[in-house]
């Protein structure tokens, strides 16, 4: 079932949590609402669920106005950040809850309910834990119970509010890929909220980057990462180096060197380069480069991070190299090298991060 968010605004007194937000989520898509705290992403999610109402605008499920329906009748599944499992019920009872509270006419038989709960327990890989209480489960297990509980009522839409926020890094990774595989199997239209860009880029079909109640950019993970619409998106999705540059005739002049640039606008501007798009060279090899001194080398992990300072104005930069390249160059602290930007992004609007 598709979800259309049309012109939704939400004010809390003076504060505008959402400002005229519009978005279309296609049937079967897995969309991430990504943004910092206060961006309005959780508010938007709750409005879709019916747990909150917008000050203006509407929500349509498959073309039909859903705003008048309360949370009970919207047929959405909601997974809370802190699980909200019913603490005095067993795992079995938690998952069965949605089926048990159906009106008499629609309620499945006891045997049916049991079959469905067992099926879901198998899906979330928690068979054998049916009689445990939430307090006896780990964080990851609780989250999976919460998911099973939401899925029990066969919702048309699945909404997840920072589902892995309260878990430790390793469990988060595992559940992330697990969620992706689950979605590939079930194909329920899903929207999840996160402030972790890695999570959004890894799991979602499309990413909606939000900031201060507005949508900054919507696109596939590759799209928003490689072609950010503005400095906010670029900065939020990964670390970034800033260069003060002057654009002239389609080239950005950074210090003594120039780099061809995609946008053509004569002005003083800021250039953005991702750490892994900075190459370190021992010799100037004919292209535009900047001279720099190595300040710090961080060689732990799969890649090597090198902090450098520009020789001409002392600006700090961070480059990311593969281990092979690093060993090849045999870099040491204090050495003078040349830095080249493979790709420099320049944004036309005047924007500050």
């Amino acid at each position: 079932m598709s979800i259309e968010i049309r012109g939704v605004s939400r004010n809390f007194g003076e504060f505008a949590a959402l400002k005229d937000v519009s978005l279309l989520v296609e049937t079967g898509e897995l969309v991430a609402l990504l943004g910092p705290s206060g961006s309005g992403k959780t508010t938007l999610l709750r409005i879709i669920a019916g747990l909150e109402y917008p000050t203006a605008g509407t929500i349509l499920f498959h073309g039909e106005d859903a705003i008048r329906r309360d949370a009970r009748s919207r047929q959405v599944g909601f997974v809370f950040q802190h699980y909200a499992l019913f603490r005095h019920m067993t795992v079995f009872e938690n998952i069965a809850f949605g089926l048990r509270v159906r009106p008499r006419a629609l309620r499945p038989t006891k045997a049916d309910i049991e079959a469905r709960v067992m099926e879901l327990l198998k899906l979330v890989q928690l068979e054998g834990l049916a009689q445990r209480f939430p307090s006896q489960l780990s964080g990851g297990q609780r989250q999976r119970v919460a998911l099973a509980r939401a899925l029990a009522v066969e919702p048309k839409v699945l909404l997840l509010d920072e589902p892995f926020g309260a878990l430790d890094a390793r469990v988060r990774q595992e559940l992330r890929s697990w969620l992706r595989r689950l979605h590939d199997e079930l194909h329920i239209t899903s929207v999840f909220v996160t402030h972790d860009q890695e999570e959004a880029l890894e799991v979602a079909d499309r990413v909606v980057v939000m900031n201060k109640g507005q949508i900054e950019q919507v696109g596939s993970p590759e799209d928003v990462y490689e072609n950010p619409a503005n400095p906010f998106v670029m900065n939020f999705l990964g670390s970034v180096n800033l260069f003060h540059a002057r654009v002239h005739d389609g080239e950005a002049h950074i210090g003594p060197s120039t780099t061809p640039v995609t946008t053509a606008q004569d002005a003083a501007t800021i250039g953005y380069v991702r750490p892994h798009e900075l190459d370190i060279l021992r010799q100037r090899n004919g292209g535009p480069t900047v001279e720099a001194v190595i300040k710090h080398i961080h060689a732990i992990g799969p890649t090597v991070r090198v902090e450098l300072a520009r020789r001409d104005n002392g600006e700090l930069m961070e480059a990311e190299l593969t281990r092979e390249r690093f060993t090849e160059l045999a870099l040491k602290n204090g050495e003078q090298v040349h830095v080249k930007a493979r790709k420099l992004q320049v944004f036309t609007e005047d924007y500050s991060i």
Binding site: D70, A71, R74, G77, L85, M89, F97, V101, A150
Partner: protein
């Protein structure tokens, strides 16, 4: 390596200080609680077991016991309803007048029980406008059983609400919201999710409410009219016996109240033990 099982030095006093403090506390408790309690039973059985049970079978005592039980049987459920409603609205919703409601809930604690009784007499007694109307229609509230129940309900109102409120506030609204999204009606959410979660708080509140309802003296004393055999609750009957110099009767009735108090304490400890275990 320091012994990690000894407490940090700041948490303990020197041994002599501890002994003194504990002794003073125990002495205080013995003097003001233990002694009076023991003497109630001692005096009740002073003339032997026979007179004790005779006193309990006294028709006035029997009707006093019945009235006390009736009063508790009506006020406690009423206050459970009021307390649940008040605690639920305050904990789960935001509305204008919320703080006012909170203050009103504590009102019976702030007012002296005698004054509380007076309020009802003034409001519903024969010489007020409302009371005049009641009198004209032969409806007896003041100086009759309904008045006693009314006064008792007022005085014991805060107990259930105040026990439930912190529990409900601590638990928040997320579970109820989850129930809602899963399709539960308001009633289903309350019955299946909220109520089991507040079970122990509710039991605790009921125990306290009951103990106070049965033992209330001040407000009931003003409102009841003290008609022997009709409008005397057990505490009032103790006073009546005392006025008549019937000390065996007074202490026998008092021993019943004392036993009620002890049973309440036992149940209270049990509930605390259970909630301690659940956490």
């Amino acid at each position: 390596m320091a012994d990690t099982t000894t407490r940090p030095r700041l948490a303990t006093e020197a041994l002599p200080v501890r002994i003194v403090l504990i002794s003073v506390t125990l002495l205080f408790l013995a003097l003001f609680l233990g002694l009076p309690l023991a003497s109630v039973f001692a005096e009740a059985f002073a003339s032997g077991r026979g007179p004790y049970f005779e006193a309990l079978k006294d028709p006035n005592t029997v009707s006093a016991i019945k009235l006390t039980l009736l009063t508790a049987a009506v006020s406690v459920p009423l206050n459970v309803l009021f307390g649940l409603a008040a605690a639920w609205s305050i904990a789960k919703f935001d509305f204008w007048g919320k703080n006012l409601l909170l203050t009103l809930i504590d009102l019976p604690f702030a007012v002296s029980p005698v004054i509380a009784g007076m309020i009802f007499v003034l409001l519903l007694g024969k010489y007020s406008s409302l009371g005049g109307w009641l009198d004209a229609h032969q409806i007896k509230i003041i100086f009759a059983v309904p008045g006693i129940i009314l006064a008792t309900t007022f005085v014991t109102f805060p107990f259930v609400a105040r026990e439930l409120l912190p529990v409900m506030q601590a638990q928040g609204v997320e579970e109820e919201q989850a129930a809602l999204v899963l399709g539960a009606t308001g009633w289903q959410s309350f019955w299946r999710v909220t109520l089991p979660n507040i079970k122990w708080g509710l039991i605790y509140g009921v125990i306290l409410c009951n103990a106070r309802a049965m033992g209330e003296f001040g407000a009931v004393s003003v409102v009841s009219g003290k008609i022997l055999g009709l409008t005397n609750t057990l505490p009032l009957q103790v006073e009546a016996f005392n006025d008549d110099y019937n000390f065996v009767g007074a202490f026998a009735a008092a021993s019943l109240l004392a036993m009620l108090g002890l049973i309440t304490l036992v149940i209270k400890s049990f509930v605390e033990w259970r909630t301690g275990r659940n956490e």
